[in-house]
Symmetry: C2
Subunit: 276 residues, 2 copies
Amino acid sequence: MDDITNQEQAIELLQQLGLKEYEAKSFVALARRQRGTAKDISDTSEVPRTRVYDAIRVLESKGLVETQHSNPQVFRAVSVDEAVNTLQSEYVERTESLRNTLSGLDPIDGDEQTETTHEVWSISGDQGITSRTRQLIEGATEELILVIGHEGVFTDQLVEQLQLARERDVKVIIGTVDDELRTTVQDALPDTEVFVSELEWLSRSPLPDDDTEISRLLLVDREAILVSSFTETTADGRGHEQGVFGRGFDNGLVAITRRLMATGLPSVNDPETERA
Amino acid sequence: MDDITNQEQAIELLQQLGLKEYEAKSFVALARRQRGTAKDISDTSEVPRTRVYDAIRVLESKGLVETQHSNPQVFRAVSVDEAVNTLQSEYVERTESLRNTLSGLDPIDGDEQTETTHEVWSISGDQGITSRTRQLIEGATEELILVIGHEGVFTDQLVEQLQLARERDVKVIIGTVDDELRTTVQDALPDTEVFVSELEWLSRSPLPDDDTEISRLLLVDREAILVSSFTETTADGRGHEQGVFGRGFDNGLVAITRRLMATGLPSVNDPETERA
DNA sequence: ATGTATTGTGATTAACTGAGTGAACGACTG
DNA sequence: CAGTCGTTCACTCAGTTAATCACAATACAT
């Protein structure tokens, strides 16, 4: 019974969703016993009895708890589904109204120098990088070279996006760093060319004491590039992903990567390519 | 151009979604001008220039902003749709994983006194009351008496739920406090009996200086009741709704309400009713 | 080359929020 | 009537965030 972990996770999630520590703990305690008094809740959570009341009041106003005004008061948690739906709809509501207000902002136009070339943008966090990756894949029209250096990035969603690209007649080439991952990818995308890169530096850093590994490397139509690396942050459990992304055939980063890919990947080498 | 309000609303929403004040302000400023330096952002928001950098870093890790590491650094906001989708999927993810962890909690069983009678639960907040209302309507099998005392509660969703109840052969009776509202309701639900209550206390409080009005009054199968009231909180813009809800034919609250309804509503008076 | 304005980082302080604790008061029990 | 329990309220302490300043690094103009 690893329910200790489970419970802590629920508390953590509730806090991420905007509840205070006491509120989250009280709710979880109450959800486990369906109904209970302030004392009951205080016993099964680590919330001081005197503060349970405040916490419950907040939970009640959010529609997660109901109160029986007897003496002693008895509290009751709504069903899990009801609670989750309530929270979820609250957030969907907020994001939708955010969408409206944001698109309703009137723009301030500064100097309109649309100097897209030579730009290199940096992004960080799995969220943003995944999003940018998707966008690039969706925008591909001819060729798509993707090197996966970290199994974590090979998600179902990614597979789906790649398949859509293939259906748009985009040539999809996928590289991996080891044979195990290659097999996984090949299984998921049978019709796609998948290989293990010969490039040493992709899988192993030439520097000692470097716990950063290449995570993704994406070249779209030979004119847009995204590279990301993954660092195991020793302290907390999960690491941090950061990357750069550039666009434009003349872009320095794009040019370099194009060359690197050409040397390391088998089928990228067709003569027509090297028009630089 | 009431964009001042619009902008403030966007900032407010972003903060509710977990961003800090500086982060929200920076993002909105950046979203308005598509790209800009720290100075630009500081000028169009009220964020001290020296703090823009921290804010942007956080935004970047959330996938809302990209950075060009030139000198001076240039920041760029992702598109509105992309930003909103990122935020939304983040929360949907969290709620779904919350659903799992919550339903995976092992219950603690206390004293199993399922003494449902005589219980009166109190709930507060539009969220919870609406949810409980829906649940009660869905559970109705024979009769459903609903008095609407505040136009705000008469939503499209409510109409839908009531129609579903009708299709289950539940007798639906709806009361209102004024004739204007009656017409609105009757239009939305043509096949349903809608009337204006004769009960004076429903629409006007007998006490002076009482800015609380009845909001909803729901009697389900004559054995479950929900009453809610609405108070204009003078300070902030919107008011607060609070209510009580009870179940069981013997329940005091239910019994009283049953009597009250019988005296105030025309068609609730069939002899078979008064079996108490 | 030199002075000046601008950019980015870090340190510091003030204001605020939330966690944690205890006093006080009323309700109920024996 | 005393003692226990339930509830609210007021308060302290710690951590976080907002806000300002000082300083180093860089670009820019003369």
